[in-house]
């Protein structure tokens, strides 16, 4: 279970510097090569590749949305089309004067960005589903296309716009411009996804619920990402309008949107370079082959697409990646950050106000009453166990405590603030951490990255690089030490054992510096040793650090050992609230558990 070599010993500082500089070197080399390429390519190839590279910019945006953030989108075509039309209309009206060009670029970026904000707002809301976002992304290009059709002279209707002024470049100039933009966008995306902030995208894809319960606002992140990448697509549209001199409704269409997804899937979602190279290769091949075998080409592409989706969801880049990892060079691991102690922020209200106040809470699903007349107060340093037979309402109570949008009646207050109507991330901001029954971590992120995301509401995330240190409050460091997770900082969470995942999630919750922790069966499925460790950790947190905790647990030996109070729920009602001795000796509890008390 333990790594015998500390992670830090494996990191080689020179290798680390190399990995930071390498993308810049590759980008510079690519830029140089593409700068001279028009000299050796024929005009046809230069023309086609210019278009392919503009499409590849779009592929990068689709990959960021789908491959990294998990949002399957067909909508990038709409933003691309909006940018292209904005450029064509403004350049047509004002000409390619410096002012016209500036206005063209500005509108081509701003209009799609605004549209992206609107689409993001429509697609992402509390409890929205990924499927719904994809549905909206299908509707947007259709709407934009129809608006273009009904735009009359403004948009040229079905024939599109031609003959507008364009930038004063020859075709080689456009080729180089497209190449530079593609390299810049890809490099920026590369830096972003390698940075700490880029991990938040993957976290969103892996586990949106956990994001919300770390106090991050998943909706805001998704909406901002949609708007920002709409702006990039608009810029690509501007380039396209200039390079081709024609814009047509198809450029904004849903079919083009699906083509983008196909290119990204074939190249390899979530790899950036795969989609870029895939798009260029496929679009270039298509231009060459579709003249000779038009239908056969589409047939082959469609067949390859179906086969890749079923058999190789990682795309061609996945194949290449597997080969690469067989080489010694490909096995470089991300360096483990150094752990440092972060001073815990003093909570303002250390007065006598209870941390949690529940007053006459009730909840029903339809005609079925699940909770009824619950009153409960919990103060700093208390560890309150919630016990009761199946269907007593324990998990429902936990859900009401951590999500104010659950429909319930009565009042819940955290440190005096009512939680009614608050989404989970806002309740987290009040000082509540929730640990789920099934360990909820980010499976594809390393232990260190999971913890860093837990610190994001306090410390922010570095958008361009990886911080060499990871600051955690002492309590979280204690959890890591006691569970030996501090030696596994670079290990991806999906490779942890079940017990280690539970410990990691607990450390993440503690890293939030909560005043109140809600724990739903933290020891389910753990070994005896692991259970003892978790018990020690919880006691240290409540007694030592004055955090309050509510624990749902079935293992009563465990409950007896660590609780300061026990609350018994039965059929949705709170039937007993007392010290461990009072509850353990109670005749009522024995009756409930022998199945006798009904009605």
């Amino acid at each position: 279970m333990l790594d015998t070599i500390p992670a830090a010993a494996r990191t080689d500082p020179s290798g680390r510097r190399l990995s930071r500089v390498a993308p810049l070197v590759v980008a510079a080399l690519a830029a140089a090569a593409l700068w001279v390429a028009p000299a050796v390519l024929d005009t046809f190839a230069v023309n086609v590749l210019t278009r392919s590279m503009i499409y590849a910019v779009l592929a990068v945006t689709v990959d960021l949305l789908w491959g990294f953030a998990g949002i399957l989108t067909f909508g990038q075509a709409a933003f691309f089309g909006a940018g292209a039309y904005a450029a064509a209309m403004i350049l047509g009206a004002y000409g390619a004067t410096p002012l016209g060009i500036a206005a063209g670029i500005a509108t081509a970026v701003a209009a799609p960005a605004l549209l992206g904000l609107a689409v993001g707002w429509l697609s992402f809301y509390h409890r929205s589903t990924p499927l719904y976002a994809s549905v909206i992304s299908l509707v947007v290009p259709i709407v934009v296309t129809q608006l273009i059709y009904s735009g009359g002279e403004w948009t040229g209707s079905s024939s599109g716009l031609v003959g507008f002024d364009v930038l004063p470049f020859e075709i080689e100039g456009y080729f180089r411009l497209a190449a530079l933009v593609l390299i810049a966008v890809t490099l920026a995306a590369w830096i972003l996804v390698r940075s700490d902030a880029g991990r938040a995208l993957v976290a969103l894809r892996d586990n949106e619920v956990r994001c919300a319960y770390l106090g991050l606002n998943p909706r805001r992140l998704q909406i901002r990402l949609t708007a920002a990448l709409a702006a990039v697509a608009g810029l690509a549209g501007f380039l396209f309008a200039n390079a081709s001199g024609v814009v047509a409704p198809e450029n904004a269409g849903f079919l083009f949107g699906t083509e983008l997804v196909i290119w990204v899937a074939l190249g390899g979602r979530g790899t950036l370079l795969g989609p870029v190279l895939g798009t260029i290769a496929i679009d270039y091949l298509a231009a060459n082959l579709s003249g000779d075998l038009p239908f056969l080409w589409q047939l082959l592409l469609g067949t390859a697409f179906v086969a890749i989706i079923i058999l190789l969801p990682g795309g061609l880049a996945d194949l290449v990646g597997r080969l690469w990892r067989m080489l010694p060079l490909g096995r470089a691991e991300r360096a483990a950050p150094a752990l440092v102690t972060r001073e815990a922020e003093a909570h303002a209200a250390t007065t006598d106000t209870p941390i949690l106040q529940v007053q006459s809470l009730a909840k029903a699903y339809g005609s079925l009453t699940v909770l009824e007349n619950i009153d409960l107060e919990i103060r700093a340093g208390e560890l309150v166990s919630l016990v009761g037979p199946n269907g007593a309402g324990k998990t429902t109570l936990m859900r009401c405590l951590s999500d104010g949008t659950e429909p319930f009646t009565g009042a819940i207050a955290i440190g005096g603030t009512s939680t009614t109507g608050l989404t989970p991330n806002r309740i987290v901001a009040l000082g509540v951490g929730r640990k789920f029954q099934v360990a909820s971590v980010f499976e594809s992120l390393s232990v260190a990255d999971c913890l860093r995301l837990a610190r994001a509401p306090h410390d922010g995330l570095n958008p361009v690089g990886q911080d060499p240190t990871l600051g955690l409050p002492q309590a979280a460091l204690d959890v890591l030490r006691m569970t030996s997770l501090d030696r596994l900082l670079t290990r991806p969470a999906r490779l942890l054992s079940h017990g280690q995942k539970q410990a990691l999630e607990l450390a993440m919750v503690v890293a939030l510096e909560p005043r109140l922790i809600l724990l739903d069966e933290p020891t389910a499925g753990l070994t005896k040793a692991e259970r003892t460790t978790i018990g020690t950790v919880l006691k240290a947190l409540t007694i030592g650090r004055r955090i309050a905790a509510v624990l749902v647990e079935h293992d009563l030996d465990f409950v007896r050992e660590i609780s300061s109070r026990i609350v018994v729920l039965h059929q949705g009602r709170l039937v007993l609230d007392g010290t461990v001795d009072e509850v353990v000796g109670s005749e009522l509890v024995r009756t409930i558990y022998s199945g006798g008390a009904h009605g």
Partner: protein, 243 residues
């Protein structure tokens, strides 16, 4: 009793678990459980929530893949058998979680449990033998039955295909004492007709009153077992279950 245990020889228990382990994903729930239910015998499996009782039943039924060990029914190994095959082998199951299609009629709920519609009349007859009140209510939605009535429907459904082995998950949960009594009577009748049962329960008095033997499951392991008729059985079990 022994001669009624159709087909299974005296040495062949109706159900036998040999060092069975299982769980979900990385989580291990049932650990190394060995248990046998003899022909015509009732064994009660007790334990609190989350201790692995339901997972153990699902492992027997092949709904959760075992990690280790062997499950045999009447001497036949169960690995890889589909639920349809199990029904054909004579295994009846009365589940606890979402046991009924609430929005379907009672008749449709029962139709779904028989291999084809022509088995239905005979099965219904058997069902009405146990629970006559259902006769007039076949067209009613299952969700409109009271909690206790639903439990009777679940048990009746499990019994109507003449199983040789019955697996029951918390049939007494949330049921009024008078109805628990009716359930017990039906189960005792079936036992005297030779049916073997594994009864998962939290209601200690009900389970021990019914069973020949008991076993207590705690954190996926059997921590206590014995004769249900022993004078100290109830006190011992409650000690394991209560706070």
């Amino acid at each position: 009793m022994a001669e009624a245990a159709q087909g299974a020889g005296p040495a062949e228990p109706a159900l036998s678990l040999d060092a069975v382990s299982s769980g979900y994903g990385a989580v291990s729930i049932v650990k190394d459980v060995s248990l046998a239910v003899g022909a015509g015998e009732i064994v009660a499996l007790l334990g609190k929530n989350g201790m692995g009782k339901t997972t153990l039943l699902k492992t027997i039924l092949g709904m959760v893949t075992p990690r280790g060990g062997k499950v045999t029914i009447g001497g036949q190994s169960l690995s890889g058998l589909s639920p349809a095959k199990l029904v054909a082998l004579g295994v009846g199951y009365a589940p606890q979680e979402q046991p009924l299609f609430q929005d379907l009629s009672i008749r449709d709920n029962l139709r779904l449990a028989v291999p084809s519609d022509r088995h239905l009349p005979e099965a219904l007859e058997r069902l009405f033998g146990h629970f006559p009140f259902l006769k007039d209510r076949l067209a009613q939605r299952a969700g409109t039955l009271s909690g206790g009535e639903q439990k009777m429907l679940i048990l009746g459904r499990a019994l109507m295909l003449r199983p040789r082995l019955l697996l029951i998950d918390e049939i007494s949960e949330g049921v009024q004492p008078s109805m628990v009594e009716r359930l017990r009577k039906v189960l005792l009748d079936e036992r005297s007709a030779g049916l073997s049962m594994l009864v998962v329960e939290q209601h200690v008095a009900f389970a021990l009153g019914l069973a020949d033997r008991y076993a207590v499951l705690k954190l996926g392991e059997i921590v206590d077992r014995g004769s249900a008729k022993a004078p100290d059985a109830q006190a011992r079990v409650i000690d394991h279950l209560a706070v």
